[in-house]
Amino acid sequence: MAPGGLPPVFENWFASRGWQAHPHQLDMLTRADAPCLLLIAPTGGGKTMAGFLPSLVDLAEKGHDGLHTLYISPLKALAADIKRNLRTPVEEMGLSIRIEDRTGDTSQTRKKAQRVDPPHILLTTPESLALLTSYEDAPRMFRGLKRVIVDEIHALAESKRGDQLMLALARLQTLCPDLRRVGLSATVDDPKAIANLLARHPDPCDILLADPGPDADISMLETEEPPPWSGGGAGYAIPAVMDQIRQHNTTLIFHNTRAQAEIFFHNLWLANEDSLPIGIHHGSLDRQQRERVEAAMVRGDLRAIVCTGSLDLGIDWGDVDLVIQVGAPKNVKRLVQRIGRANHRYNAPSKALLVPANRFEVIECVAALQAVRDHDLDGETHGPGPRDVLCQHILLAAASGPFRADDLFKEMTSAGAFATLLRDQFDACLDFCATGGYALRAYDRWQRLVQTPEGLWQLRDPRAAARIRMNAGTIQDTDTLKVRLKRARGGRPLGEVEEGFAASLSPGDTFLIGGKIVRYEGLREMTVEVSRNASKKPKIATFMGTKFSTSTQLSQRILRLFQHQDWPELPQHTADWLNLQRDLSRLPQSDRLLVESFPRDGRENLCIYGFAGRNAQQTLGLLLTKRMEDMGLAPMGFVATDYATLIWGLDAVTDPSSLFDADVLRDGLDGWLAGNALMKRTFRGVATIAGLIERNTPSARKNGREATFSSDILYDTLLKYDPDHLMMQITREEAMRGLVDFARIEEMLARVDGRIDLVGLDHVTPLAAPLFLEVGKVRIDGDAEERLLAEESADVMREAGLQP
């Protein structure tokens, strides 16, 4: 065998399949000894095989006692899928390699057995790995571990799950100093940033770039009927999508939210005259249901599958020849990764269609298509590692046994994201874990660590380890309730809905789940009981899925598109709309801020085209309405989209420049916004990850409403009595991104630099009109209420013959 070449048994297996190893797969083998290696390959490029090849060859040639390779994927389903796909070649080559997965779905018995007698290759998720490292027997279980493979690392790198994973890897590296790290990533804008996260700091990490393959064949779906002015359902496109399904073998239909996927699936079935086999797959569905769909998909039994991000990542779906993205993609990188799901034959172009859900999304889709053609991916910088994750990891470390602060600090700062962590920041986290922090010192429940006379930190009460493990993880799911058919006990679960949605239901209401309409019967303990219902019009499930903000880069493309003289690339109806806006008002520009003011329905409206993304526009709405309240303009409410915020109230704004003062807005963020629900939600996430709030207790799972109540009050208390508490510092840091996304407001103000155009009109404008149809309006209770009550009261007084 040539150095780095394939051993004969592998060579023969590839040949028996009529395959040839890809160059990057062989490269991975050649560089098997690199301490850290990142492979960037397009979907369908045999990435996973490339990652496992060095492990399989090593195991085949040398054998191994105990755990050899740890594989981590962001999805449970992916781990299961890899297990299937890996066992086949291993069995066909007659290798004696034991491969098992371990996720939240693995049975307790199986998990126990794995700790005693680990397989050669263990496939798991960041959460399961974090738990594994928290057991006292972790050193024994991981003894001899040689390689770790992080799959779809680009997806993990965007969230706290990645930060948690890297801390767990730092722990593993302490246990197994010679551990080699491999990262597998889809095409990204900044491979170096991901390499820095993956490597043990300050080790280097080589990057292998696989041939990206041919460009995708991607276009916008043409329909006879134009898309509606607002909404996200894309129901208008059902007949055209049905046609596409008929013309292709297997079509994946991606949606941005679960609710939209449900509605679309339902409508697709109503239009499915040929009864084609079509399935649905999203994260709210029960596991068994999902697995059934996955199995049918692998067998090639389905012609189409309606799905969400739960199918985003590298699961091998066999013969998919078309991907349809319904709704604007929001983010070019994710779009490219989704498109890659079609056509798993490497070196053949993937075919994809975009379906805008409303008129504005037509523009966004066209901009995204251009970005894909230009290979212009959007990136977000990964800030320093979040300290709430660090706190959780300190507690997990304590659960595994006593530790020295110096050692743990050294270990944690070897994770790339935490390399810049200062010692006093670490000490503050440690102090928080030990005492709860200054304001909470008096409470016993937060006194969790003590220092032994030898200077070792350990759990004050060893029984706390179980509670810490129960609350491990960084995924902040919206609180959901299981939905079951009302029948004998333990009726089949259909899936889950958000608690808030369940609370809004009255017996007799109907809603969609798993593509079926069900009737709400009642709430029993923590389960929503339903019965089958044959009605045609459901009350819609509002389980959220994720609402992404349109990326900065895509927003900028749209603004540039507006500046074109005409728009041959846009459908006529959309070009007409933009022309009308240009005639009646103006089109927004990148270096100016367009603000429109007009009356409607007895209220004054202000529309701000900030193009800063949904979350930032939402925050802008909160900050501006507060300013307007202070100025006596009596705002009554607002609504935000990715491109604009619409505010309505009793009085019109005449001087916008005073509203958009960056310093004043920043003061609003620190001062007034501190009391806002968004900050409270941010705090809740932070406090839960850091272990201040325990969502799971041995007795019962805390329900969402109770958790909200106590976390809100904790927040108010800290805000009042200890505003610099560690949890408050982290909350403010988070506010710059995510839900609050103040960083994008600052970026918008910087690019506009005071150039604000207030256009006063006597009626609503073409671009603003769809905003009135948007859902998610936020109501302001302030001076407007006082004035409206005063009007009403005056009437009552007059009726009573009194002087108002």
């Binding site: 007895g602 009554m636 109770e706 106590s710 209420e785 005063a790 009552v796 009194l802």
Partner: protein
């Protein structure tokens, strides 16, 4: 004073925006349903543990009304404590605060359904307090007149030109007034509830609490 005046059984009363009732001629301030120690009771009964700051909030608002009116008598119309144990578990700091508020004035605790027995804090404990032409009790009794009570935590919905506004409110007619709850974190019962529509005369009106209290119709 920022209040809405009205007459009950010949007595001139003022409904304050805070939810307190001011009887200026007798120098009496009346508040209802303080529910002090609510967080303590919630935690004791297996609910979430909340820092006990709602008691401070309620007392702060009460102190501000006392300063405003300089009342010589204060009548707490029952459910002053979330329950007996909550009264006993009141932190020392809060007890001292109550004592400070009690200094130099008459303090009457009317018994409520949450706090039936006497409690170990200064002031007198009464089942009811007749002060002709008015009488003070926790729960309204049908058929009485000149009656001041609480218990229901009433709130009203006001249909204005542009939106519906819901606020805790006083309900009053020629026979009685029902006070809104003064305590922090206390829910409310809509004026459209049968318990309230049966009790109040058809011509009853409401005074919404808030920045500026205002007379409105009692929604039915």
């Amino acid at each position: 004073m920022n209040g809405v005046p009205f007459t009950l059984a010949g007595a001139q009363l003022i409904a304050l925006g805070s939810g307190a009732l001011w009887w200026e001629d007798r120098n009496i301030l009346c508040v209802s349903d303080l529910h002090l120690g609510k967080s303590e009771r919630t935690a004791r009964r297996g609910g979430p543990s909340l820092p006990p700051y709602e008691t401070r909030d309620t007392l702060t608002r009460l102190e501000s009304d006392l300063r405003l009116t300089n009342a010589g008598t204060i009548i707490c119309l029952g459910d002053s404590f979330d329950d007996r144990a909550a009264a006993e578990a009141l932190p020392e700091q809060d007890r001292l605060w109550v004592s400070r508020l009690q200094a130099g004035r008459r303090w009457v605790w009317i018994e409520g359904n949450h706090d039936p027995g006497p409690i170990d804090l200064g002031g007198s404990h009464l089942a009811e307090l007749p002060l002709p032409p008015l009488s003070f009790r926790h729960i309204a009794k049908p058929g009485k007149s000149g009656e001041i009570s609480g218990h229901y935590h009433p709130k009203v919905q006001v249909q204005t030109r542009l939106r519906t506004i819901s606020r805790p409110a006083f309900l009053f007619d020629s026979d009685r007034v029902i006070l809104p709850a003064f305590g922090t974190y206390t829910g409310g019962l809509r004026s459209t509830d049968e318990a309230l529509t049966k009790l109040m005369r058809p011509e009853a009106r409401a005074i919404v609490t808030g920045q500026t209290p205002r007379l409105v119709a009692m929604a039915r």
